[in-house]
């Protein structure tokens, strides 16, 4: 790969191994193993307690609740990457001026110029941009991106315009997405390397935790992935 195609931001995370399909598969399996390691002890303890002493039912229920809630919390963490981090009402509280409607409109207009008609329409409905890539199909939000890598695994990445830059707090939502989209398009693997993985797991886990208005974007990404897979066969 020519140096011009390597994301410059990679210099800030030089210790990370560049993401590729094999590494994604490995990280997905490790994530599943971690979840199993969280769930099995609690579920096992609940079972054991009930076998030894049925009066320990309340404690067993607490164990089962832990076994259920831990994966849910991780899925929530994944869904959070797609939430708009700063809405116009709280932007001022975060240190930046409120983004006027005109700036929002201009930023969305520029974003619209970068994507096709379908992606534009999906963004208008869901606030997310669907972007096919080599590693899978991406959904890009203001402060994160979700990669559908195969039909049974999503990777949720927390990534945003560098908050250490004072101008970052002032950017309207369309520009935030455009920043991520341009970085993703220039070096997809580099983008996934720079980003922090917040969750990896089944799409249905993520879907349940997404805002209702964003769910059609996930459905669209799954359809795009299925369509690509059927064309490849």
């Amino acid at each position: 790969m020519a140096s011009a195609d390597v994301l410059p931001e990679l210099a800030g995370v030089h210790w990370r191994r560049r993401v590729d399909a094999g590494q994604l598969r490995l990280r997905g399996r490790l994530w599943t193993l971690t979840m199993v390691a969280h769930i099995v002890p609690f579920a096992g303890a609940a079972t054991l307690l009930m076998m030894l002493q049925p009066l320990a039912l309340p404690v067993a229920l607490v164990c089962l609740a832990h076994a259920w809630i831990i994966p849910e919390l991780y899925a929530q963490r994944g869904a959070n990457v797609l939430r708009p981090r700063i809405d116009p009402r709280s932007r001022a509280a975060a240190g930046g001026p409120p983004s006027p409607a005109a700036a929002e409109g201009r930023s969305v207009g520029l974003l619209g110029d970068l994507v096709g008609h379908e992606a534009r329409e999906l963004h208008a409905r869901t606030g997310l941009v669907l972007e096919p890539g080599r590693l899978g199909v991406w959904l890009v939000g203001e402060a994160g991106a979700v990669l559908l890598h195969g039909p049974r695994r999503v990777f949720c990445y927390c990534v945003k315009v560098d908050p250490r830059r004072p101008q970052a707090a002032e950017l309207p939502s369309g520009d935030r997405i455009a920043h991520l989209l341009l970085a993703l398009r220039s070096d997809e693997a580099g983008f996934a390397t720079v980003a922090n993985l917040a969750f990896a797991g089944a799409p249905w886990r993520l879907r349940r935790r997404m805002r209702a208005e964003m769910r059609p974007a996930l459905q669209g990404a799954r359809a795009a992935l299925a369509s690509r897979s059927s064309r490849a066969r």
Binding site: G96, V159, V161, D162, E170, L182
Partner: protein, 74 residues
């Protein structure tokens, strides 16, 4: 007419416009481009559907050059 824009609090600002046959406009665009690089911006050019390229010199033949801020993991 080619354009150099910067994504900022206004949505985006046009920093320069040029045609390759206009040396004064090209010079102004190159100066604006370098000034943004010095401020820490990165320059991107769309190179087809779903593709973009990071450039370090102003590509005079490009229709649109977009200056963006660096990204980081959250």
């Amino acid at each position: 007419m080619s354009k150099l824009i910067r994504m900022d609090h206004t949505g985006h600002s046009t920093l320069a416009e040029w045609t390759p046959g206009d040396p004064a406009a090209v010079e102004a665009a190159v100066a604006a481009f370098r000034s943004e690089l010095e401020r820490g911006y990165l320059a991107m050019v769309s190179t087809g559907p779903g593709h973009a390229e990071h450039v370090r010199e102003l590509p005079l033949e490009a229709d649109l050059v977009i200056m963006r801020l660096p990204i980081s993991g959250g």
